[in-house]
């Protein structure tokens, strides 16, 4: 298991995390059905506006799924930032993880590791977290 993703999208997510600091940022990366390839980056609004919680607005969530269906895409990556802690799924992240086919990406832009950042990917299925390699291209 691994995630292959472009440098441009990784940089855009890290930038979003910095812009929305101290709140957690969130979003998805979409790709064609069945290809497991994240191509179209779609930042989402954190409706919780919180430094320790994120949530897609239910209206945005429905619109997202409709759009994905209409365009024969799927949600390849669901990402969010941890602004003060490690980029590892919390119990909350695991409890909410509802897309068994998605890569769950966590980024951390916490100060104690700056200017370094973390960008890590996981599968979360039936409450079990498995970290996977991330391969960043071009």
């Amino acid at each position: 298991m691994s995630l292959t993703i472009s440098r441009a999208i990784v940089d855009a997510i890290l930038e979003q995390s910095r812009v929305e600091y101290p709140d957690e940022c969130c979003g998805v990366i979409l790709g064609p059905v069945g290809a497991d390839t994240p191509i179209r980056h779609l930042p989402m609004i954190n409706a919780a506006h919180s430094p320790t919680f994120y949530e897609f607005d239910p209206k945005d969530l429905l619109a997202l799924y409709r759009e994905v269906d209409d365009k024969d895409e799927e949600i390849v990556v669901i990402y969010h930032s941890h602004t003060e802690t490690e980029a590892y799924p919390s119990r909350t992240d695991i409890a909410y993880a509802g897309e068994p086919g998605a890569h769950y990406v966590l980024v951390s832009t916490r100060e104690e590791i700056a200017p370094a950042t973390e960008f890590r990917s996981y599968r979360i299925i039936d409450g079990v977290v498995t970290e996977e390699d991330v391969s960043i291209t071009g």
């Binding site: 957690e24 919780a48 320790t52 897609f56 969010h80 799924p89 919390s90 909410y96």
Partner: protein, 95 residues
């Protein structure tokens, strides 16, 4: 009375992998009872202690049922119900 119910990936093991199923009920609560009768175990994934689960969003046509009366939301023939897992989480370690 027939209502189309769209099932998210995570709940398709209950519906023999069908993306969409038909069910009946004059309210959301009755619809969930019918769904659970057809697909055993599905009701428990939607309800907890008799209330809608926090991790699940349900829409009637395009409206979140939380704004339509929750479990008492009325349904009529031809309505479309969509079930989606909430996308949420965060570094907070208790819910």
């Amino acid at each position: 009375m027939s209502i189309e119910v769209r099932i998210p990936t995570i709940l398709r093991p209950y519906t023999k992998e069908q993306k969409s199923v038909e069910a009946a009920g004059a309210t959301l609560s009755a619809l969930i009872t019918d769904l659970d009768a057809q697909y055993a175990g599905l009701g428990e994934r939607l309800l907890e202690n008799g209330a809608l689960r926090r991790f699940i969003n349900i829409y009637i046509n395009d409206e979140d049922v939380r704004f339509l009366g929750g479990l008492e939301a009325p349904l009529k023939d031809g309505d479309s119900v969509t079930i989606l897992p909430a996308v949420a989480g965060g570094s907070i370690d208790s819910l």
